[in-house]
Symmetry: C2
Subunit: 215 residues, 2 copies
């Protein structure tokens, strides 16, 4: 058995990390998420990402075109599942809109605050204004539009004029994204109850009076 | 008249920039704010900050010990004025607490969103966890505590149990900081009305029913 530590040839992945059962792609995303949120985006090189995932840099480029590509994919992962849920909830019009909006808020807070890494913190990077992030911004805008439609379908939201509805939608969206910072200050607080309380607060902003789990 | 472009000796400041009437210290902070929020914190060097302020790097070190020092000072400028206002409002107990909480929320949103640069975006930098930022975190915690005291002094807030009051304070604080992102998506919206609407929403979260400018 050879113990050479020289360059491996013909192997797409080195094996420095125990096999996690994750795909190489997901391992790279996880490594990038960790480095971007702890060391910072600018301080992280693609080489560091590859090394941290136990791969060579060349292998990384097989999956991602570069650092922006990794960041864009991570950012989309913070909004795409909520958009999928929002579209499902919008279609489910047999249920009261208040209940559906509450559920969207709760699930969105759990997604934003519940990951192993605080990816929401990456929203504010100046780099995220670039073209590579058009798709993230579009999905985020679609998600906000879905919030707006659910809000308009509630009794309190439907009674508002259009300008006021847009404003309340923005405020609800601001609250949901804003609690990322709150959660980071007190990560020990149980997330489920916190997400529910945030959803209660969102419905209060719309103008619904909260009673029980679906205010 | 000499046209030499060599190194100036015995002058603390170069004169590449027209005199703004600002102190050298404030010019450095302004240059840092611009660079940190547009190019990013990690990508900005102290040399770039000095050059952008029309000074030599050595001159910059006369005012600030380094990049962290500039960032810490900028971050404190996003919370210190609101803390001063909050302490003044807390002492002014002849006025209804609802009115005072509303005013604090409105002023805080105007401060966070109204500056030439979106300094709130720097809250989420991983670097801000470091020791140099203890003072910023303390001022921010004091500000949150003042929000909590005003909230407890409102009729609706006073009727809540302690745990629920802490939670609502966190949610109000999350909303105020969260609207930074909302404002960035739509910077053309008049800030005064937006700040007032955010203050209305904050009082709704506490449980006050909004009527007129002081809900």
């Amino acid at each position: 058995m050879s113990t050479t530590t020289g360059r491996r040839v013909g192997r797409p992945r080195a094996t420095q990390r125990p096999d996690s059962g994750m795909s190489a792609r997901d391992e790279l995303l996880l490594a990038a998420a960790e480095l971007f949120t702890t060391s910072g985006y600018a301080a992280t090189t693609t080489r560091l990402v590859a090394e941290s995932a136990g791969m060579r840099q060349a292998t990384m480029y097989h999956y991602f075109s570069g650092k922006e590509d990794l960041l864009a994919e991570l950012l989309e992962s913070t909004v795409a599942p909520s958009l999928t849920l929002a579209l499902r909830l919008l279609a489910d019009d047999a249920r009261p809109a208040e209940e559906r909006l509450w559920e969207l808020c709760r699930a969105d807070v759990e997604l934003l605050c519940g990951g192993r890494h605080n990816l929401g913190a990456l929203y504010l990077l100046p780099e995220v204004r670039g073209e590579r992030f058009t798709s993230f911004h579009r999905v985020r805008a679609d998600l906000k539009a879905a919030y707006g439609k659910l809000l308009a379908a509630t009794a309190a939201g439907g009674a508002l004029d259009r300008g006021e509805r847009v404003l309340r939608t923005d405020l609800v969206f601001g609250l949901i994204e804003g609690v990322i910072l709150v959660h980071r200050s007190d990560p020990a607080r149980p997330l489920g109850a916190f997400a529910g309380a945030t959803a209660d607060a969102a419905l209060r902003i719309v103008g619904c009076s909260p009673t029980g789990p679906c205010p």
